[in-house]
């Protein structure tokens, strides 16, 4: 196994991304509780190291597809926090102009192709950019995220085979946060997700998803393989979600206290903080500055959300089709 050796600068970058995600998600959490944000929201606090560690290897030409629990992926991929917050507020001018909402945040300009409310559906989609990169002879890769629950969906399983058969530069990141809704992964699947991947011909790794450096290194290996034309890889990241399955789902009685405590003591930000404290002189000041900056960024995003105009109710009627040669009216009839 060839390990990437991470630089302090890279670690700082990871910390910054993770802090942004944490601050963003916690703010969304309280805004929702205050009744200020609408929507069906799935937060990823606790899982920041996965998004940050993977995305650190990707450029705008590398495409990702995400899930319902997508805010962290979007932020790490470079989607504007303000645009996202505007979208969460259901206002005009955000990532999706109010048509998508939390579960559909995407921004192709930074390589974020799609999120979505159908568990497992983003995985087949990622096969497309991987195929395109391969056909074009580009070194770009496609990364797809899915959960431990999603790993049981036929669409995900089929895609693993397709990626192997077509030798696609595709990377499967399974965020195993122990639960799919209130169902533990140990019930949903007879084997750990990464063990299954080998049976599809995908090399796989299991990493501690709380350790951003471990994720970074595993993702680095997978991305290098893909860029070198050696096909897909599967990485299972063991992690934990601090909030409920969705905002409003407060009945978290099914979380065992010892697991909860264990993961909270292994908070990904704390782990990285400690590593940086050991490795980088003056880290405490840098850290404080990052935290301040990220709070500013999120404050500004919230302001942007609050101030963005409410959409014209008629705006939802347009944009069902892209083609301009055939116009389609409200009732699905063509007009010309």
């Amino acid at each position: 196994m060839n390990t990437t050796s991470i630089t302090d600068e890279q670690m700082v970058g990871l910390f910054e991304t993770m802090t942004l995600i944490r601050v963003f998600e916690e703010r969304v959490h309280s805004l929702f509780q205050d009744g200020e944000l609408p929507g069906l929201l799935h937060l990823c606090s606790g899982q920041e190291a996965v998004a940050a560690g993977v995305m650190a290897h990707l450029g705008a030409a590398d495409m990702i597809t995400s899930t319902h629990r997508n805010h962290g992926h979007a932020l790490a991929k470079g989607v504007s926090p303000a645009s996202m917050m505007i979208e969460l507020y259901g206002r005009s001018g955000g990532t999706n102009d109010g048509k998508g909402g939390s579960m559909h945040i995407a921004d192709a300009s930074v390589g974020h192709l799609a999120s979505g409310g159908i568990v497992g559906a983003g995985v087949p989609l990622a096969m497309g950019p991987a195929q395109a990169a391969k056909l074009d002879g580009r070194p770009d890769v496609a990364v797809t995220f899915f959960g431990d629950g999603g790993a049981q969906q036929g669409t995900v399983l089929e895609s693993m085979n397709l990626a192997a058969v077509w030798a696609l530069p595709a990377i499967f990141i399974c965020e195993n946060n122990l639960f799919g809704q209130a169902t533990p992964v140990a019930y949903a699947s007879a084997v750990a997700p990464h063990q299954r991947a080998e049976g599809f011909g995908l090399p796989s790794e299991l990493v501690d998803g709380q350790d951003a450096v471990a994720v970074f290194e595993a993702a680095g290996r997978a991305v290098s393989r893909a860029r070198a034309g050696n096909g897909p890889t599967f990485v299972e990241c063991q992690t934990y979600s601090y909030h409920g399955s969705w905002e409003g789902e407060s009945k978290r009685s099914y979380r065992l206290p010892e697991v909860e405590t264990d993961f909270r003591t292994r908070d990904p930000l704390r782990i990285l903080d400690e590593r940086l404290a050991d490795s980088l002189q003056g880290w405490a000041d840098i850290r404080d500055q990052i935290e301040e900056d990220m709070h500013d960024v999120v404050d500004q995003a919230v302001e942007a959300g609050r101030n963005a105009p409410r959409p014209d109710p008629a705006a939802g009627l347009v944009g069902v089709y892209a083609d301009e040669l055939v116009d389609v009216d409200r009732d699905g009839l063509s007009t010309y």
Partner: protein, 337 residues
Amino acid sequence: MRKISFSDAINEALREEMRRDPRVIVTGEDVAGGATIRGFERRDAWGGVFGVTRELVSEFGRDRVIDTPISESAYLGAAIGAATQGYRTVTEIQFLDFIGVCLDQVVNQAAKLHYARGSKGSGIPLVIRAMVGAGVRAGGTQSQSFYSAMAHFPGIKVVAPANPADAKGLMLASIRDQDPVFFMEHKGLYETSGEVPEGEHLVPLGRASVVREGEDVTVVAIARMVQVAERAADLLKAEGIGVEIVDPRTIAPLDYATISASVAKTGRLVVVDEDTPRCSVASDIVGLVASRDFDALRSAPSMVTAPHTPVPAAPELEDAYTPDADQVMAAIRKVVA
């Protein structure tokens, strides 16, 4: 009579039927929740995402209230197979929006196995519960009502209750039915409450209900749109317009006779539905009335439906998407003009 919520009415129907018939089982993602977790042996973590199946596992145990992986094709197939062995599975697909991952099991397996067996078939008793309806700002893949597309397929029945009493009565009838029944639960109705008879209360499939009588116009409305139609009817009373509201309750097979009788009386028709317009139950009903009761019609029938768009997430957009009483009133005024 006591009043209970739509959600409790379904829960009660499931509980009563599971008591009556030991071969009724419930499956789906988190219909109990918490499977294999210490302390949850006879206790649910959720009882369904909105609690409709709550506390069933406490009474019936995990052999009859069975959590599943997120593998809809597999557990739907299991329900169909079990139906051939005397079991009656009430299985949940959470949101109808998700059915695309497993539709083959519905339309080519559940719907056709009985027919394809010829005279040797003995039915595929099975209920597929699924939520429909916009209004929760969840965006395009958790808000749809595309039961029209389901009703298109021969071999399945599609039920969409509009009030707690019908929810209970139709659920009892659906479980006892020998055929696969799609049971559509509008999430905007879960909290509504109404009088619900205790014990055996069967509402037969394939029978519409005349929710209110009126002389001037027939409004056919489905699921949550029945409330919207009632609001419109209340408001139009002041204008002297008598609205008859027909709730089909079962979309497939459709009780056309009741609609026909109403149109014969009023001579006018408005269909109100939250599904999108093309090849929909709304155009279906208008098409049926036009072809079968043309002479009864005194004016052009009208449809009030969602637009031909996905369901947008933002509140203003979603509200504009969903048919409301104003639109219904405008349509009624036009047909009675």
